[in-house]
Each structure stands twice: as C-alpha cells, then as structure tokens.
Amino acid sequence: MTEIVALEALAARVAPGQSLAVPVDRSGVAMAATAAIIEAGIDNLRLICVPISGLQADLLIGAGAVKTLETSAISLGEAGGAPRFGAAVRAGSVTLRDATCPAIHAGLMAAQHGVPFMPIAGIIGSDLLEVRPDWKVIDSPVGEARKVVVVPAITPDIALFHAPEADRAGNVRIGRFRELATMAYAARKTLVTVERIVERNLLETEDSAAGVLPSLYVDAIAVAEHGAWPLALWDEYPADEAEIARYAAMARSEDGFRAYLSTFLTHRKQVA
C-alpha cells in the first residue's frame, strides 16, 4: 500500500547506484525531490530520461550524482544547451546511452508487458545502433521478410515524478501524461511528489478515474508544494523562464554551477 511520507524520507528511498526514471519537463518533474536526492548525497545513479530531460538531468549530472545517462536528448529548451551535460560529455565522466524517444517508451513497455524486448519501427541506418549494442536488428519472425529493430526491456529501480494531486489511498492524478503510468508499470518502485493530497477518492467516477495512476503502482508519496519549480506543472503553474535562464548562464562554469546549486538547495529547504 502507498505510504505518505516526508520529502526527505521519499528521497531516502533512492539508493546509490540505482536506475532512476524521470519524465520530460512538460509531464511533471520532481524538482524538489531532486534537490533532496542531491542533498542526501545519493550518487552513481543510472538516469533514464523518459524520453528526454533538461534542468533536472543537468543538476544531477553537475552534482556528480549520475554514472550513466540513457536519454534521447538533454536540453534546457529556450534557455539553450545543458551546460553540465556538455561538460560531462567532454570530460567523459558520464557513460552515455544515447537513444531515440520512442525506443525509451518501447523499452518501458516491454517491462510493462513482462517481455524481454519490444520491436520498434524505424531506426535502421542510424548510428545509434552502433553505440547501443544492446539494441538488435532481427529478421521479422512473422509476415514478409524484413529487418526490425528490437530494444531490451527497461525496468527502472525507481520511477520519480511530480503531479498535481493524490488521494489518501495513493491514487495519483496524471491526466493525459500517460508516460507517467508507463514508467510506474515498468519500475520496481514508484515515488511521487504532489502539490496536495485531496480528500476525495480519485477513482470514484469514470471521468476522474481515466486520468489516474492507481495506488497499486505507487510506493510512496510526499507533498512538495511548487515541487516542479522552476519547471512548469501542466496548467498549475508555468515554467520560471528567468530562473532557468539564470541557471543556464551560471552553470556554464563549474564554480557558477556550485553557486547555483547551493542557492537551489537552500531555496528548497526554505519552501519545505
């Protein structure tokens, strides 16, 4: 059953060396929990971006928490390239597992369906196949003779995201952002931060239930108000573009990044 815990306790459920799946910015990123993970010194993470990431990945990389990085892209969007990602690539300090968006979804779906792999359209001819020897090209076992790419199942140790609300039973509202459900189905444990806990049962009506991740898949929930800041949360609040631009500028240097990180962690504690 889902436990409702404090943010620090939630972060403490992530162990060094675990694989951690996180969603794209627009789906709801657990930034407050990310701060708590960095503060707790959890490192050697194998980060899986579903299917891309930005500030969250760059902060974790800059803080030295990431050992391997599976992603289809890392970008700060309008604010430009992700500076700590770029620096880590140049330094060779993070092992890259470059991917393409639907391949990450397909890998998670393999885990969702309990199969070792998933076939996927396209990709043939891409150098991604050279740098991802775990992806295979096979002859289709059915239908007309043709090559098909297959990708192995992705079973994250932890899925982590931020959502507007959960109910007391641990059901979480995810709206149309169904990749959050896919992450949770695939992961061994799912940790969720929310803006608020609501007293009604989110599964009560057919309408409200359609956008819900059932508590069956949710191990722990922590309340973190404004928990996606400075990223956006759906139609709850927009991204703090100025803050992201400030990060982009400061994180160009290692020292600037350290200064930003220190303020960011302090800010998180003041809010909590």
Partner: protein, 247 residues
C-alpha cells in the same frame, strides 16, 4: 532581403507551399516558423474551401489533441497518420543524413548537441520530412555527418518516410529519393546560386536556371499578418508580437 521579418515571411510562405496537400502536420516544440507555415496552410485551405488541415504542436495545450502520453505522436506516425514533420540538425549532409548528437568522435564529441530526439524513428515514418535549418553554412551543411542520428535512405528496409525538402535562410532544396541527394529549387532574394554554392559543404544538383523564391503575394500576406499571427500568439506570443509589429 530587406529585413529579418521579410525573410521570415518568405520562409513561412515557403513552408505552407511545401505542406500543400497534407492532412496532418506535427510541429516540434520551439518551432514558431514551421508552426506559422502550417497555420498559414490551414487558413488558406479554409479560405479556398480545400480539405481541413490538422496541426499538432508538441508541448502546446491549445494544439494538442493527443491523449495517450508521449508515445502517441510516434505511434500516430507509425500508423501513417502524420503526413509531415520538421527536423533540423547540427549537421546535415548531402545524402540527407542528419546529426543531432555532436561533432568529432562519439562519445567524447568536441561539440555535443542535445541528442537525436525522435529523429531516428520519424525519418522512416513521416512521408514529408521538411529539413528546416536557418543557418546556411559549410559548418552545418557537410559532405558527411560525424554521427548519423537519422539516415535518409535505407534500401535494406521498406519505409514511407524521409526528407522531402531542405529550407534555409538562403535557399530551398528538393530532396530526390531516387538520386539520394538534394537539388536546388530556389534561392531567396537577394542571394545568388553562387552564394549557395559557396556556403554549402555538400554537392547538390542545380538547374540551368535557378528561380528566386517568391515573396508571399498580397492575399497570403493578409492571411499571415492577420489571422495566422493571431493564432500563433497562443503558442508563441513573443514571436507573434515581433512579427506583427514589424509588419
């Protein structure tokens, strides 16, 4: 070209023309010019009584009719329900291959770009992929990309998708899938075919007479500066404001 804003109007109109005949175009996030081109086509079709055009803008609330999460655009393309899409590239080569990963040797690339996004997949599945890259330079347009994020031609596997055209700040190229390369279609004034040759690192076919990319006609400009920029403002307020002010 007298101004940034006129150049952009030419690009938007060129995109609308490239999209002519499609039913559904998907536009990536942070792509105001492709989005404006798609909206211009939609407005023109509606005005001319032609079939409606559906526009999906990734990450937009108003232009999002997907309800199955991040996979839906990709599934939709695989089902043949997306007719056109836009891709860029840190490098694009003469065979139409694109590189969104970086220059030099992988993984410790000299310059690292964000990554391949969905390109390796969508390039196979969307019939009209329009390569859109404003910077027209030998740095971008190279003989051979350092990393193939997505390959244009793969005879070893059936595919419906691939590059259709390449649009830059200076010119418009067609992609010839049979020949496996680009052919210059038109040059945006005031550039000349010689300017294009000088700034393009890959080889391409060139007709004897290269026409100038047409400036949008009055009817098109009226639609664009009126309805289209208003619609665009929902998703790209800053861009739409600048364009309306300049017009």
């Amino acid at each position: 070209m007298s101004s940034d804003h006129e150049r952009r109007e030419i690009l938007i109109a060129a995109i609308a023309d490239l999209l002519d005949g499609i039913r559904h175009v998907a536009v990536g996030a942070s792509s105001p010019i492709p989005a404006a081109g798609a909206m211009l086509l939609r407005a023109r079709n509606e005005h001319d009584g032609k079939p409606p055009v559906r526009i999906s803008i990734l990450g937009s609330q108003a232009h999002n009719f997907f309800t199955n999460g991040g996979i839906e655009l990709f599934d939709c393309a695989a089902q043949g329900r997306v007719d056109a899409f836009f891709l860029g590239g840190g490098q694009i080569d003469g065979q139409g291959n694109i590189n969104l990963v970086g220059t030099g040797d992988y993984p410790k690339t000299d310059v690292r770009w964000p990554g391949s996004f969905g390109s390796a997949y969508l390039y196979h599945l969307v019939p009209r992929v329009i390569l859109f890259r404003e910077e027209h330079s030998r740095r971008v347009f190279v003989p051979k990309v350092d990393f193939v994020s997505a390959r244009a031609i793969t005879p070893e596997v059936p595919r419906r998708g691939g590059p259709y055209a390449l649009l830059t700040n200076m010119a418009l190229f067609d992609f010839d899938r049979e020949a496996g390369g680009f052919a210059l279609r038109s040059v945006h004034p005031p550039f000349t075919p010689a300017d294009i040759r000088e700034n393009t690192g890959f080889d391409y076919a060139e007709p004897d007479v290269v026409r100038a990319t047409p400036r949008p006609d009055a009817a098109t400009l009226a639609l664009l500066r009126g309805r289209v920029f208003d619609e665009l403002a929902e998703t790209y307020p800053a861009f739409a404001r600048i364009m309306k002010q300049a017009a």
